[in-house]
């Protein structure tokens, strides 16, 4: 752990940007059909419940990292192994994000540039900000949060006034009943991106007013969740469900449709900018958590020693995890099922053990 503090607003900005992450741009929740937006709302509820689980754990050990109190609860050896598994999971998701970012850039704007070059540049910048520490990450998140809001407002404004929006396209409500809504929300949407917030258990000890974590977490989750839901709704009403399901990056297509007076057009750049900002922070947070966790587990004094080697691992992972974007998407689908264990079941188990222990302690006293 480094000696640093981040403010409540900085944490909120980090969480908010993290949640929008790649979810804003990739095809998201489409298996729920026209009711994808509703499915996301349900997932928010699940995410809020999960956030309380994480918070109670943090409340018990306010000065320890997640990898720290896992060892306290599960015992030295089992806890150590599970902690390492968490770090690996963070690294894997970090690699996924870098890959998604690179793939979007290659397929939309930089068609000739090798994926490797894009990924290396992104990871280098990520390593740099992490080298400077979590305070710098938090402060830059604060700045980019404002920029992101401006970009979002501009994008929304132009799409809404362009006249391409037809809200009737989301009707009929509940076209295929409730089932697809729930099967999409659980586990897919609740894992990605709401459950992914487990990574913030690695950042919470830095919060300057720990008692406020209880409020910041749900606030960031709900506000970003509502934005995701709105974006999906807008995508469907601009593109129609079919075109949205077909496209790899629906938001890029929806915003690309804007054409005001043959003058304001080609706004795809807004989407690419948004993705650039959000993915940078999301992947940085994951990388930071992974590096910090590994440093904690292996009792290193300074996480900066292993930053570059692990950055290299991320580059390697991002390139080798899938041979095509379709394979990448399929892997993500399977990963969502697997991720239920570290993101939902294990935290619940931790909580259960904690409660049982307390109960016994009370009895002994």
């Amino acid at each position: 752990m480094e000696k640093a503090k981040i403010s409540v607003i900085q944490l909120f900005a980090l969480m908010f940007i993290f949640e929008l992450g790649t979810a804003l741009v990739v095809s998201y929740g489409t298996s729920a059909g026209k009711d994808a937006w509703l499915s996301i709302l349900f997932a928010i509820c699940g995410g809020v419940i999960l956030s309380f689980v994480y918070f109670i754990l943090f409340h018990q050990y306010p000065n320890l990292l997640f990898t720290g109190y896992i060892r306290e609860i599960f015992g030295k050896y089992i806890g150590w192994i599970i902690g390492l598994l968490y770090c690996l999971t963070f690294l894997y998701i970090c690699g996924r994000n870098v890959r998604e970012f690179g793939d979007l850039l290659v397929s939309s704007t930089l068609s000739e540039t090798p994926l490797l070059v894009i990924n290396i540049t992104l990871v280098l910048v990520m390593c740099y900000v992490i080298h400077l520490g979590v305070e710098v990450l938090g402060r830059s998140a604060e700045v980019f949060f404002v920029i992101l809001l401006l970009l979002g407002a501009a994008g929304n404004f132009f799409v809404l006034v362009s006249g391409d929006v037809d809200f009737h396209q989301i009707r009929p409500f509940l076209e295929h009943g409730w089932k697809p809504i729930f099967t999409t929300a659980f586990p897919h949407l609740i894992i990605f991106p709401f459950g992914e917030m487990v990574v913030f258990t690695m950042l919470l000890p830095y919060l300057n007013r720990p008692q406020l974590a209880k409020r910041v977490w749900p606030a960031a989750l709900i506000s970003s969740g509502l934005i995701l839901s709105w974006t999906v709704l807008l995508n469907i009403s601009v593109l129609g469900l079919d075109a949205m399901k077909r496209s790899t990056f629906p938001l890029l297509k929806a915003v690309g449709k804007v054409n005001l007076f043959d003058f304001i057009e080609r706004l795809d750049a807004i989407v690419v900018f948004t993705l650039l900002i959000t993915v940078f922070f999301k992947a940085s947070i994951y990388l930071y958590a992974a590096v910090l966790g590994i440093a904690d587990l292996f009792k290193l004094h300074n996480y900066r020693q292993i930053l570059l080697p692990i950055g290299t691992v991320v580059i390697f992972l991002s390139l080798s995890m899938a041979s095509s974007f379709s394979e990448h998407t399929k892997e993500g689908f399977l990963f969502n099922y697997m991720a239920v264990i570290p993101l939902i079941i294990l935290p619940l188990l931790l909580l259960l053990i904690l409660i049982i222990r307390k109960h016994f302690k009370k009895k002994m006293n």
Binding site: S108, T113, R171, E175, E265
Partner: protein
């Protein structure tokens, strides 16, 4: 600070490496495509498409006097045959001076022969390739001329023929209202759903004369291009053409009517009064009755009198009220004519099916498979028109006494 020079060196290196020159495209090396035409290549699957691209010659279009230089044509076209669209476009690079650049594509013209055989295979590449923007209009070259010839007709007022087609389409859509333009993304949507309408374009005159620059030296060019008709596609194949009133009905129903002129009878005098429609709005609603969908089309139209070759005193509100009713009747007939044609062709070009789905998803699930074939042609359609003539121009009663 002994690392300072080293850091500076590193920064310079990064500046070179990070500026992203990989995808640089120099303007002078690009061939900017302004129009694309797809014709039939051969009867076999191999080389089935003949694709023509129209490339802008920037030095000729940008204007300015070029003393002593031979006047070159403002655009040039290249044609190749191939089996897929992308293959053919790449083959064109053997003729074109630079890389084909598509984001400024203004029209896509498809030959009638290809349209009859099916246009389904033409749009996947357009949707997939990030270079294409799917907002350009698609047209079908009608009659004897091929799409290539349509794209090559020279016109005096606009140097670039494909831009001329685009402009004609826009002005016809805005002032006459009969032929609405169809964007590529709308065509793709329609192909997915089964039925789609595409605007037609026809050459008026001889195609061979049209391609010469002498064509634009005449006051009345012997060959002209004209927007004409709406092509009705079913399952990606051209089925029939809608013209005149039936085509205008499409614009009414799809709520894309901007302005148009309608003629009304004045007593025994036929087609004597011309009304300009300046504002129109339409909505389609589906209600389910006895498990069967019933379609309600409502049109609100507002207009003004443009011409009155008849002795009626338009200053009287009662007379104007009668004209309102006549106008309503006229619009209703146009709308019904179009609906009947679509029903006869068994193609749901207006996507009423989705409206049924919105009205009652259970009913839609039952009739989905047989909708276009059996149910849509038999469906009851009610048309409700509300037309109001707001003003009569600068005169009330005409000088004409008959």
């Amino acid at each position: 600070m002994r690392h300072k020079p080293l850091m500076l060196l590193l920064l310079c290196a990064l500046l070179v490496l990070l500026s992203g020159c990989w995808d640089r495209e120099e303007l002078q090396q690009l061939s900017i495509v302004s129009g694309m035409a797809i014709d039939k290549g051969s009867d076999k699957v191999k080389n089935r498409y003949k694709v023509t691209v129209q490339i802008i010659n920037p030095s000729q279009v940008s204007g300015g006097q070029q003393g002593g230089k031979v006047q070159a044509s403002p655009v040039t076209t290249f044609t190749k045959t191939g089996s897929t669209l992308s293959e053919t476009l790449r083959k064109i690079s053997t003729k074109a001076p630079g890389e084909l650049f598509f984001p400024h594509l203004q029209v896509l013209v498809i030959g009638e022969k290809v349209a009859k055989e099916g246009i389904e295979d033409l749009f996947d590449m357009i949707e997939r390739d990030a270079q294409f923007r799917v907002l350009f209009p698609v047209l079908i070259a009608r009659g004897h001329a091929t799409a290539k010839e349509t794209l090559e007709v020279t016109t005096p007022l606009e140097a670039i023929p494909s831009a001329k087609i685009g402009d004609a389409l826009k002005s016809s859509e805005e002032d006459w209202g009969a032929y609405k333009s169809t964007r590529a993304d709308q065509v793709i949507q329609g192909l997915k759903e089964g039925s789609v309408m595409v605007t037609g374009v026809e050459i008026d005159g001889e195609a061979t004369k049209g391609i010469a620059t002498t064509n634009m030296q005449q006051i009345s060019p012997s060959t002209q291009i004209e927007i004409k008709g709406m092509a009705l596609f079913r399952n990606g194949k051209l089925e029939s053409w809608l013209d005149g009133h039936a085509a205008r009905g499409v614009t009414w129903i799809t709520n894309e009517m901007k302005r148009t002129v309608m003629n009304l009878n004045c007593g025994k005098k036929k087609e004597a009064t011309a009304i300009e429609i300046s504002r129109a709005k339409s909505a389609t609603d589906v209600k389910i009755k006895h498990q069967k969908p019933v379609i309600y089309i409502t049109v609100h139209a507002e207009g003004a009198v443009l011409e009155n070759n008849c002795s009626k005193d338009l200053g009287k509100s009662k007379v104007l009220g009668q004209l309102d009713e006549q106008l309503e009747e006229e619009i209703e007939q146009e709308v019904l004519l179009t609906v009947k044609k679509a029903q006869k062709q068994k193609s749901d070009i207006f996507n009423f099916g989705e409206k049924v789905n919105m009205a009652d998803k259970r009913v839609w699930k039952n009739i989905k498979t047989s909708w276009e074939k059996d149910i849509f042609p038999e469906t009851e359609v009610h048309v409700n028109i509300q037309a109001i003539i707001r003003r009569t121009g600068m005169t009330t009663k005409s000088y004409i006494n008959k």
